[in-house]
Subunit: 898 residues, 2 copies
């Protein structure tokens, strides 16, 4: 854009009338400039922030903004725009000269300026900045006299380097020129800086592109370069990635350079209005006397604390801001405190002191640790300076996860990475960290130490073994494999799909690449990153953050329309869920109870029985156990709903695998042939689409009737003892209204019988899962025969996508890599497909029963994006694994609706 | 309802004013009664038909109707209704007396009447009728004088018997009373009739329930009985089964008895205006001189033809109507001919002649054979008396099936049933009949005789064996099992789910109950009834009816909006489809081609190859074969679209079963271990929801690209030779827009490459199956990347119901039995669930592309109810198996839309 490069002469030729310049092309700030309402669209984010700072009374280095409108005008390349741009720069510099008492480009009190981009939307590091504009041969001695030789030549070198690479039209700098202007290799001393400057200037002279000695020409070139950088390749890519419109354009900020290294009464620093690690309510930060920000960033010099009391030694204390410039420290402390009182947020402030004068360079909301985020949000809320909505916005689900599930010690993992004890990486399937001994077969499991179950995959029969381990590591399966689902349900640490594992159970060892680990060896598994380490790595403290989380969620809960319930199969899980604030149990998978070591033989006997007598006997024993299970659940959840799903999985899941038939046969005193025959009978091509859910219940009503009897007997007994049980029954895999009606009628009769017999009056609503697409399509008709709906989005996703969770590993990773599916639909709800169907179903159901309770109990119930969607379509509750309850509560609050 | 029983005295006491009776409670017909517009709702079907006959000029025995309104009034049991009913009967009888010149209940010219029910909707045989009302001791002699003793006492016995069982309030008749009034054991002669009458009368007298000698009391009791029968148990059940409202009520018709046995100039008969077996255009029927309808029905006497020329002997000719009463015959012939001219339909007429006077008792549209239905519909249409719409209405899909697929000779099957050679009954899975030798293993199959493949189940590997058999019989699987689907596709006779079969392949025999049949023994299989016979049974002639069907469909096709295409995988199938009038191929399953004996080893090699070289070689050989396959298909369908679906099934379907691994290994020269390993790698928990369809194509693009290349090379070659090929490519199992876009782009590039290389310009639209629920939900977005849609309703039904076709046998029969599902959703489209989803998808797609071609290629494409639904939601075509094309064409015409 050579047309915008103005010579000093040219600028001087233009008649200068500051008052006549339109306010939408030039804005002044700092000094005596009248504060203007910041408008990031017009002024860019950088200048808007500086303007905000001046409005709040902070002293910022004076400057001016060439607005985005100016940007758009100059792109038209018109005579008018060119003139306007020149007049604007002139007027802006005049303002800065007046405010600083310095003069642009003149020895004596030379004014140097920075020229920075500033887009309406932050594009960190994408666009160009040129510092020290205004420095040239004639004034270098004057600058050196004030700031020292090293500073003068160092600043000049920076200007020359930036002008060469960004502003001057030099197609391909020679290696020699590159060498002497390479800022990544800073000059050792003043002498080297001067030598490199002189060399660069002479090369430029020699090759016919002399370095502009006219500061106005420097300024014009710098402004043009900043504007031009909007169209750079990397900016275009960044905008496309982040969906930023290319028509926004950038503003350009020209600001006086302030030198923290000007003299002994100068320095630079960073401070936070509160401690960004702990949230503690005190000014914290670093200060470097006689230094510039770059010195700190480049790590050339080590800064000191701000306050004396924070320093480690007497000597250090002298070097603090308080020690060096006590009045400035006091001013900083007061100003920051006032500012926080206005902003109601932790502030991250950059400042520079030049000759005892404090300037603020940047002021923004501070990045903070999870702990600090919660502590400070609660503190601000307690101070009544922010609302519950603000609290909700200021904290994230990731922060809660982080606080709940501390990972391994960062230093130790770093060392482990370096020393090669990280032996594999799988999928992060159950967050948290676990340290334990390798166990390949639960029969060999050590009883006295924690162990980690290492398997190719897991199946329902492995659940009892999983319960007793501290972590699970599998060679195959994805983030929604059986192992992953069960682990998350139980809060176990889990890594799946660790394909590098070769398990040789017979030899009792595991091979990972060249490493061989024996059963009993220690490993450390990080379920948040998927990393697996040999040996033991120290962990942070789990649970200590819960009181803080609890207090925070107590504030945010009030905003949530949706309740959070939990999926829990045992009193222990229910207890965890309730302690995490679950408002009920949205799903009890009764079959999980059947996998207990004392129940599995009974359900196996039931399935394998040759006659009614055998079946009845097994059923009777199961009933006793289930009744006590339910009594436990209902007791823990006293006063809250407990939703019990009748038997769901295909019966063959309860029978042993081929290798375990002999053992099962012996235990049950049933011939292996009989077991094999029954397994063959129950074999299905596609068990997911076979005899399961309420189909089982309709064909073999004895099982669900036993379950309903157990539940109601437990509830009636509790009621008679003065408790407040709220049992609910949920029917799985319903595919049509008649099916629901038939099944419901049978169950209702059983409920009435138990209540009549016990004399207790227990209400027991009966609802249905909506997990078959047809159920969603016929939701209006199903609503007539259901007291509530719960979307089973795991299965619904499988059917809607024709995608078996167990088999998806064969192509889902490739699909995600190629962007064919935007995300794993088992991890985050597919809103446009599955979600559309859910939305239709909710509408239909509510058109029949406007007050119907509708929720979700799939894995998605713990995923924030999915929870937000559920709130949007009007669900009443989400039910997730106990350990996800806090996260779900926050997500529900964020979704709002109340 | 004793309140409606009126004594003569009571009736006489009512002041009789016929003109004052409301026309909505009593209607008169016959004699001089003014014809009234028949209204079945008010008059009942029976009377409405008689009234129609009088209106068209037929002489019917005079009578009156007590309407359904009268029925409802008398149920209120009010004084008013009781009086009205009495006055109505009186008035009606007065009309009949006047019209016949006889007198009710008086000797001399005694009038007897029938009292019949008549509901608005036909409920054949459900409600009661009482004949000969008015006969009593005092006039029996007079009746005998006119009609003979046997007639008089026989009639009296019938009246007494019907009154006892239906009208008189006798709780439980004694065995003695039952014995003498048992009409199923008719009296031998007048003497026996008289004796049984007298005995019954004396028993009734003795037990205090004397037989009413007052004809008016008889009439009142009879009317009350007819009305009461509306609420009988069997009527209630019938109404519930047929969805008839119980509030309709029944009318009651009182009509003069006409006696075909009055004298020599009397008789009774039935005639059809055309031959109901062949449709031949001539009066045909039977006549019985001096007889009554019951004589013919009871088979006591054998009737003679109507016309002399139809009789077998001179003697018979004398006994024809023409021989006995030539004028009456002429009148009948003329009247029927005139009547058909008005009704434009084949008429079924009952008539009686009393003393030379011809009365018409019934006139209705004749039941007819399939042959007659088509012949007569075409004839009427040719006579321009009925429209194409009428033709469409008058013929059914069942009739076409029957004509296309003649079953076994009826006489022979009857004998087989009686002699016990019917050995089993399974499910009628592929219509038609087949006779062949049992073949358990195709390797033992006789080459010189037809054979029937008998298996437990079939799988894709059995397809080549199925092709070479005349029928398939399986022990397991339903009407949509693999065997059934493939059989219907190929037009093979098929019986599935014949659970009585025990196949012992090793012993080479089949046991069915006590019967053991050896491999090679003859059996006869009826795929329309599911029956299986030992030995050979003669069959009708297939194919001879096709010209007639073709002419009929040529008339009806004009009404159809939807086109009918066919699912065909080979040129042979395409030829059949085209000969049956298919307008294109809607689905070619390319994988079916792979099961050919020369291709299976190639695809197996492809899957088992250890390196790229092996894969490339197998692919190259397959390409040559596929190119020739496609050339064949495109040639046969020249000028019509051929829609080729890229590879769909999971790869493991192409690998051998456990028992065949060794053989395959030897043939391919690949180690059995390698095959076993690959089978294990490809094993899936739920293959239906796994790696198949376009997922395969995206992971292993080489296969679909080879297929596209073959198709386009074939098309280009044909085009260059002057033919008119219309290839189309269809992508299976699409679940989202990005997936379709990626796959389509790759295929389109391949198409362009082939066209560019050959120099031929062949258009090749690319569409997608809609068989995954998500595809239906996202139809609007998919429409942007598809040229056409084809609903794969088989898979769509599986996903929408979460119901695997292969596993449904475990509960679907129970569900159908219990009415939980109204019908097998694989046989007839589930309109409220799957259909709703289809309807939504069509709307969405058309909102994006209003002219988009959308069809269906699932099995439902051949089901009339499903076809009607497809027309209703606006599909453009249905594609079904070649042998279903004629039926689908008729169903499409019935659905109309043009």
């Amino acid at each position: 854009m050579p047309g915008t490069t103005l010579s000093r002469k040219h600028v001087h030729a233009v008649h200068h009338k500051p008052q006549s310049l339109p306010s939408d092309t030039l804005v002044l700030f700092g000094g005596d400039a009248r504060p203007v309402t910041p408008d990031p669209q017009l002024h860019g984010g950088k200048a808007a922030s500086l303007m905000t700072m001046t409005k709040t009374g902070l002293k910022v280095p004076p400057g001016c903004v060439l607005t985005t409108r100016m940007f758009r005008l100059q792109r038209e390349d018109s005579q008018h725009a060119s003139g306007l741009l020149g007049r604007s720069m002139r007027s802006g510099i005049a303002h800065i000269e007046e405010a600083t008492g310095k003069q642009f480009g003149f020895a004596g009190t030379p004014l140097l300026v920075s020229v920075r981009s500033g887009a309406p939307v932050s594009m960190p590091g994408m666009m160009d900045t040129i510092l020290n504009v205004g420095l040239h041969d004639s004034i270098i001695a004057s600058v050196a006299a004030t700031y020292g030789l090293a500073f003068a030549w160092g600043s000049y070198l920076r200007l020359i380097a930036q002008m060469v690479s960004l502003a001057m039209d030099i197609a391909s700098p020679s290696g020699e020129l590159k060498g002497c202007t390479d800022l990544s290799c800073p000059p050792k001393d003043a002498q080297e800086a001067e030598e490199r400057c002189r060399k660069a200037l002479s090369i430029l002279e020699r090759q016919g592109t002399p370095f502009p000695q006219d500061p106005w020409e420097q300024l014009s070139l710098a402004v043009a370069a900043v504007f031009r950088s909007w169209d750079s390749h990397r900016c275009r890519v960044y905008r496309r990635l982040h969906g930023i419109s290319p028509s926004l354009g950038t503003a350009c900020t020209i600001q006086a350079m302030i030198f923290g290294n000007a003299n002994e009464r100068s320095g630079t620093g960073v401070c936070f209005s509160r401690d960004p690690s702990t949230g503690a309510c005190r000014l914290t930060g670093e200060y470097l006397a006689v230094g510039q920000g770059e010195d700190v960033v480049a790590g050339i010099r080590t800064p000191f604390p701000l306050a004396k009391k924070d320093s480690h030694s007497e000597q250090d204390a002298r070097m603090t801001l308080e020690g060096q410039l006590p009045q400035v420290y006091a001013e900083l402390k007061r100003t920051v405190s006032e500012l926080e009182g206005k902003m109601h947020d932790i502030l991250d402030i950059e400042f520079t002191v030049e000759n005892g004068v404090l300037y603020f360079l940047q002021c923004r909301s501070a990045k903070r640790s999870a702990l600090c985020a919660l502590v400070s949000a609660l503190d601000f809320h307690a101070e009544e300076t922010i609302t519950a909505e603000d609290v909700t916005r200021r904290i994230s689900e990731q922060q809660i996860t982080q606080l709940l599930k501390p990972g391994f010690d960062l230093e130790e993992t770093k060392r482990a990475e370096e020393s090669g004890t990280r032996i594999a990486v799988g999928l992060p399937a159950g967050p948290g960290s676990a340290v334990g001994r390798i166990c390949l077969d639960a029969r060999n499991a050590p009883t006295d130490t924690p162990w980690i179950l290492v398997r190719s995959t897991t199946s329902p029969e492995d659940v009892p073994d999983m319960v007793r381990s501290v972590g699970v590591l599998t060679a195959h399966g994805g983030m929604s494999s059986h192992a992953a689902l069960v682990a998350r349900q139980m809060g176990l640490v889990c890594v799946t799909g660790c394909e590098a594992l070769c398990i040789d159970a017979a030899a009792g060892h595991v091979q990972i690449g060249p490493v061989i680990l024996k059963e009993g060896d220690w490993i450390s598994v990080d379920g948040s990153t998927g990393k697996v380490y040999a040996g033991q790595i120290n962990r942070g403290d789990a649970g200590s953050a819960w009181p803080l989380i609890e207090r925070t969620l107590a504030v945010t809960d009030a905003l949530a329309h949706m309740k959070v319930e939990a999926n829990a199969d045992t009193p222990e899980q229910a207890r965890v869920a309730r302690s995490f604030g679950a408002r009920g149990i949205g799903l009890t998978r009764t079959e999980h109870m059947f996998f207990g070591f004392d129940r599995l033989p009974l359900i196996q006997r039931l399935i394998l029985a040759e006659d009614d007598h055998g079946r009845a006997e097994a059923l009777k024993k199961l009933e006793v156990l289930q009744t006590s299970d339910f009594e436990g659940l209902l007791s823990v959840m006293d006063g809250l709903p407990v939703t019990v799903r009748t038997i769901d999985p295909p019966l063959h899941e309860f029978l042993p695998k081929a290798g375990d038939i002999a053992q099962t046969a012996e235990r049950l005193k049933i011939s292996p042939a009989r077991i094999r025959r029954r397994i063959a009978e129950l074999k299905e091509e596609n068990p997911m689409l076979g005899l399961r859910g309420c189909r089982l219940g309709i064909l073999y009503p004895a099982i669900p009737l036993m379950q309903v009897r157990s539940l109601l007997r437990a509830a009636c007994a509790l009621k008679l003892r003065g408790a407040d049980p709220h049992p609910q029954i949920m029917i799985p895999l319903t595919s049509g209204p008649q099916e629901l009606h038939v099944h419901r009628t049978a169950l209702q009769e059983e409920i009435r019988r138990v209540c009549d017999a016990s004399g207790a009056n227990v209400e027991c609503p009966i609802g249905t899962m909506i997990e078959v697409p047809r159920a969603a399509l016929l939701a209006g008709k199903l609503a007539e025969a259901a007291d509530f709906f719960s979307f089973g989005t795991n299965d619904l996703t499988q059917m809607v996508y024709a995608l078996s969770r167990d088999d998806a590993f064969s192509f889902l990773p490739e699909y995600l890599k190629k962007g064919i599916y935007p995300s794993d639909p088992f991890a985050s709800l597919d809103q446009e497909g599955v979600g559309l169907l859910m939305e239709m179903a909710v509408k239909e159901a509510r058109s029949v029963k406007p007050q119907m309770k509708i929720g979700i109990c799939g894995e998605h119930g713990g995923d924030p994006a999915s929870i937000a969607f559920c709130a949007r379509i009007g669900l009443d509750y989400v039910s997730c694994s106990p350990f996800r309850v806090p996260i779900a509560r926050l997500a529900a609050a964020k979704a709002g609706g109340k």
